[in-house]
C-alpha cells in the first residue's frame, strides 16, 4: 500500500525516508490496511483506556452503573411475567427466570452499549478527525473498550447470581466457549457499529435511530424468552440475527443441562456476522476519506 507510513515512528528512519507517502485522490473501494492499523495499536489502546477512565468520573455510583441496567432489566421482566401470571418456566427452559434473564442480559448489554458507543464514536471524535491523521477505524474499535470493561464487571455479578442458584446449574466444559461468544457479540456490535458510525457522519438521524434499533433488536433476540419459543423450522432464519446465537450460546456455556447446544443456528449466525463485518469494513473504508469534510 502506498499509504503505509505517515506519522509513524519507523525503527529504520532511512527506509522510512526513501519511501514517499503519496497523497492523492484514491478510487472509491480500497483494501483495508491492517498493517497500518496494527502500527496504531498504541493509539487504539490509549483512546480505549481514556474512555474507560472517564466513563464513570463524577458519578456517585461509579462502576455500579455497569451493573444497574442489566440487573434492572432482568428484574423488571421477571416481575412483569410474575404479575401477568405467565408461567416463567415456559420461557426459560426450566431455569429460574431471573437467572435465565440475567445470563442473557450480560452479553446483551455488551452488544447494546458497544453498538451505541461505536455508532456515535466518529461524531463524538470529530475534534480529532478534523485535526489529526490516523486510520479512522481506530475510533469505532477503541469505543468498544469501555463496554468490555462493563461486561467483565457484569460477569462477576453473574457469577454471584449463579452461585445463589447453584442447584439449577450444571457447569461443564462448555464454560470454556464463553470467550468465543463474547467475541461474537463484540464482532456483531462492531459490524453494525461500522455501518452506523459512518452513516452518522453524514446523517445525524442515526443517533436517534440507534436506541430504537437496539430496543427492537432485544425483542428479536432470545433475551427475555428462549429460542425454543420459536418454531423449529424458523430457527435458522431467526439465527440470521447473530445475537440469537450469542445469547443462547451464553446460556449453554454457563447454565448447561436444559439448554440446547448451539448447532445450525450458530453457523448461520457466523456467516451473517462475517457478511456484516466485511461489508461494514469496506463501507467504512469507502466513506473514510469524506469524514474530515463532512463530520
Amino acid at each position: 500500500m502506498p499509504t503505509a507510513n505517515a506519522i509513524q515512528l519507523n525503527e529504520d528512519p532511512v527506509a522510512e525516508a526513501s519511501a514517499a507517502v503519496r497523497v492523492r485522490p484514491k478510487p472509491g473501494w480500497q483494501a483495508i490496511d491492517f498493517a497500518e492499523l496494527w502500527r496504531y495499536r498504541e493509539l487504539l489502546w490509549i483512546l480505549g483506556s481514556r474512555d474507560v477512565r472517564v466513563r464513570y468520573k463524577q458519578t456517585v455510583l461509579g462502576i455500579l452503573w455497569a451493573i444497574i441496567p442489566p440487573l434492572f432489566t432482568a428484574l423488571i421482566f421477571s416481575t412483569i411475567f410474575r404479575l401477568l401470571k405467565v408461567a416463567p418456566q415456559t420461557l426459560s427452559n426450566g431455569f429460574p427466570y431471573l437467572l435465565f434473564a440475567f445470563t442473557a442480559q450480560v452479553p446483551w448489554q455488551l452488544f447494546a452499549s458497544a453498538l451505541s458507543q461505536s455508532s456515535n464514536s466518529l461524531v463524538g471524535s470529530q475534534h480529532l478527525i478534523t485535526r489529526v491523521y490516523f486510520p479512522r477505524l481506530v475510533i469505532p474499535i477503541s469505543s468498544l473498550f469501555s463496554a468490555v470493561v462493563d461486561f467483565l464487571v457484569c460477569l462477576a455479578i453473574l457469577a454471584g447470581i449463579m452461585l445463589w442458584y447453584r442447584e439449577s446449574i450444571d457447569l461443564g466444559w462448555s464454560l470454556l466457549t464463553l470467550p468465543f461468544f463474547g467475541l461474537l457479540a463484540l464482532a456483531t456490535s462492531l459490524a453494525v457499529g461500522l455501518w452506523m458510525s459512518a452513516l452518522n457522519v453524514q446523517y445525524r438521524d442515526v443517533r436517534h435511530v440507534v436506541p430504537i434499533m437496539v430496543q427492537l433488536w432485544m425483542y428479536a433476540s432470545p433475551v427475555i424468552y428462549s429460542s425454543r419459543n420459536i418454531p423449529e423450522k424458523w430457527r435458522p432464519l431467526y439465527a440470521v440475527n447473530p445475537m440469537a446465537s450469542v445469547v443462547e450460546g451464553f446460556r449453554w456455556a454457563l447454565l448447561g443441562k436444559n439448554q440446547p447446544a448451539p448447532g445450525l443456528m450458530l453457523w448461520v449466525s457466523l456467516v451473517s456476522v462475517a457478511a456484516l463485518l466485511v461489508g461494514g469494513l469496506f463501507y467504512f473504508k469507502r466513506m473514510e476519506k469524506t469524514f474530515a469534510d463532512l463530520v
Partner: protein, 431 residues
C-alpha cells in the same frame, strides 16, 4: 535518497457548497434524490457542479529537507486546506503530494485533551494522538513537564487548570514531537505574548535542528525571522514562492488593493455551517478626510462593520481586535466598552456598527480581527479582516518626531532647576 521533503504537483481540493451541503439529514437526502431529476428538466441549462468551489487549485511547489517554509495568505486563501491535505486529514480532489519522512502535524495544540484526565494522562494521550510512541513520551516526560511549568499540578485533572497552564502543557507536548516534517497551523496565535515568544523560540530550535517545517501564520514578524522561504496563496493558488522577505512583501501587496476594507462573503463563510449572522464587510476610515485605510497617528479612526443576521440576534455585540504587524494585540474595541450603555436588545437583517476611537498607537501597519457576538457567544469571527496604516503625524503637537515604542502618550514636561523660581513645584515651596 533525495533531499526533497515535500513535492506537491497540481494539487486541488474541491468542496461542495450551497444546496448539496445541506443534505445533512436522511430526509433531505431522499428529497434531494427525488427532486434532482425534476430540477434538471426544469432548468436544463444550469451546468452541473455550479455548487462547488475549489479551496485549492493547481498548487505546485517543493520543499527541501531542512527548509523552513512559511505559508501565508489572506483568509480563505486555502492555507488550512493545504495543511489538511498534506497531513492527510482530507483527501485531495486532484493532483498529488509526495511526502518523504515522518510527518507531525500540529493544527492546534492540545488536540484530544480530555478535561477529566490529569495532566500526566493527557500528556500521554495527546502524544499518542500526535503520533508519538509511548516509550518516546515516557523518555521525554520530565522534559515536557519542565517546559510546561506545571509540575505541581501534573496529577490534577486539566479541567482545574487555568487556560494559561492548559496551553503551556499542550504546547509542551507538541514541542517535543520530533518528526522529520513538522506542519504547523496558526497554533502560536494563542496565549500571552511571553508564551508566544517562548513557542516561537522553540520553533526556531526545531528548525535549526534540521527538521523541515511548514508553517502557516498571520504573524509576519515570525515568518520573517523563522522561515527561509515563503509561499503566498491567493484564492487557492500559489501566487508567489520564493524568499521569505519577498513573500511577506507580496502578502502586504494583496492587502494594498483593499487596504482598510474587506468583504467577507467569500469562501470561508460557505465552508463551515452557515452562521446565523455574518460580518459582511468592514472599513477603516479617517473621519477627517474620509480616506480609507490610512489614519494619522493620534487622530481619530472610524471603523464601520456591516453585518447581516438571518435569524434574530439577542444582545448582539461586536469586537474589533487591533494587532500590530508583529501579531501583538494592541487593543480590543468592544460594544460592551461603550460608556453610554450602548445595548441593542436584538437585531435582525442588515445592520452596521460604527466605532470611533483615538488610537494611541505609533505609525505602522495594523490588522484587525472582527467578531460578531450574541449573548457573549461568538457567532462569526474574521481573522485578519483588514489592515490599515497609521501615518506619521505631529500627534504631540511638538513638531518633533515620535520616538520608539508602541503607544502614543501625550505628555507635559516641567523643568526643576535649582535656584530658579520658574517652577512652582508642589511640595517644594513649603520647604
Amino acid at each position: 535518497m533525495t533531499d526533497t521533503a515535500i513535492q506537491v504537483e497540481g494539487l486541488g481540493k474541491r468542496y461542495r457548497i450551497g444546496r448539496a451541503r445541506h443534505t445533512s439529514t436522511l430526509r433531505d437526502a431522499l428529497m434531494e434524490t427525488i427532486a434532482a431529476p425534476f430540477r434538471r428538466i426544469r432548468d436544463p441549462l444550469t451546468p452541473r457542479g455550479h455548487d462547488t468551489f475549489w479551496a485549492l487549485k493547481n498548487v505546485s511547489f517543493e520543499v527541501k529537507r531542512g527548509e523552513v517554509v512559511g505559508v501565508i495568505g489572506r483568509n480563505g486563501a486555502g492555507k488550512s486546506t493545504l495543511l489538511k491535505v498534506l497531513s492527510r486529514i482530507t483527501e485531495p480532489t486532484e493532483g498529488e503530494a509526495r511526502i518523504y519522512g515522518r510527518v507531525g502535524c500540529l493544527l492546534e495544540v492540545g488536540t484530544g485533551f480530555h478535561p477529566e484526565l490529569t495532566g500526566r494522562e493527557n500528556v500521554f494521550l495527546n502524544g499518542a494522538i500526535l503520533g508519538m510512541k509511548r516509550r518516546e513520551i515516557a523518555s521525554k516526560f520530565d522534559e515536557i513537564v519542565a517546559f510546561s511549568e506545571v509540575e505541581k499540578f501534573i496529577d490534577t485533572p486539566v479541567k482545574h487548570y487555568s487556560s494559561g497552564m492548559y496551553m503551556r502543557l499542550a504546547f509542551a507536548v507538541a514541542a517535543h514531537l520530533e518528526p522529520d516534517i513538522l506542519i504547523v497551523d496558526e497554533v502560536l496565535a494563542v496565549g500571552d505574548f511571553a508564551f508566544q515568544q517562548k513557542c516561537l523560540g522553540k520553533m526556531g530550535t526545531v528548525a535549526s535542528c534540521g527538521h523541515t517545517v511548514l508553517f502557516v501564520s498571520h504573524n509576519m514578524a515570525a515568518i520573517e525571522s523563522l522561515c527561509d522561504r515563503g509561499i503566498v496563496l491567493e484564492e487557492g493558488s500559489v501566487a508567489f514562492c520564493g524568499g521569505q522577505a519577498e513573500a511577506v512583501a507580496r502578502y502586504h501587496q494583496t492587502f494594498a488593493g483593499t487596504g482598510g476594507q474587506g468583504r467577507f462573503a467569500g469562501a470561508e463563510a460557505n465552508r463551515g455551517e452557515a452562521p446565523r449572522a455574518r460580518i459582511v464587510s468592514a472599513t477603516v476610515t479617517d473621519p477627517q478626510n474620509g480616506e480609507i485605510g490610512q489614519v494619522r497617528a493620534g487622530g481619530r479612526t472610524q471603523f464601520r462593520v456591516e453585518c447581516f443576521a438571518s435569524e434574530t440576534l439577542d444582545r448582539p455585540g461586536l469586537g474589533i481586535g487591533i494587532d500590530s504587524s508583529s501579531g501583538q494585540r494592541i487593543v480590543t474595541l468592544h460594544t460592551n466598552h461603550d460608556p453610554t450603555q450602548f445595548r441593542p436588545r436584538r437585531l435582525n437583517g442588515a445592520f452596521s456598527f460604527f466605532c470611533t476611537v483615538e488610537l494611541p498607537v505609533v505609525p505602522g501597519s495594523y490588522t484587525t480581527k472582527l467578531s460578531l457576538e450574541s449573548e457573549d457567544q461568538t457567532i462569526h469571527a474574521v481573522e485578519q479582516a483588514m489592515s490599515f496604516t497609521v501615518l506619521p503625524a505631529d500627534c504631540y503637537g511638538s513638531g518633533g518626531r515620535i520616538g520608539r515604542g508602541v503607544v502614543l502618550c501625550p505628555q507635559e514636561w516641567l523643568l526643576d532647576e535649582p535656584g530658579s523660581l520658574a517652577l512652582p513645584l508642589l511640595g517644594r515651596d513649603s520647604g
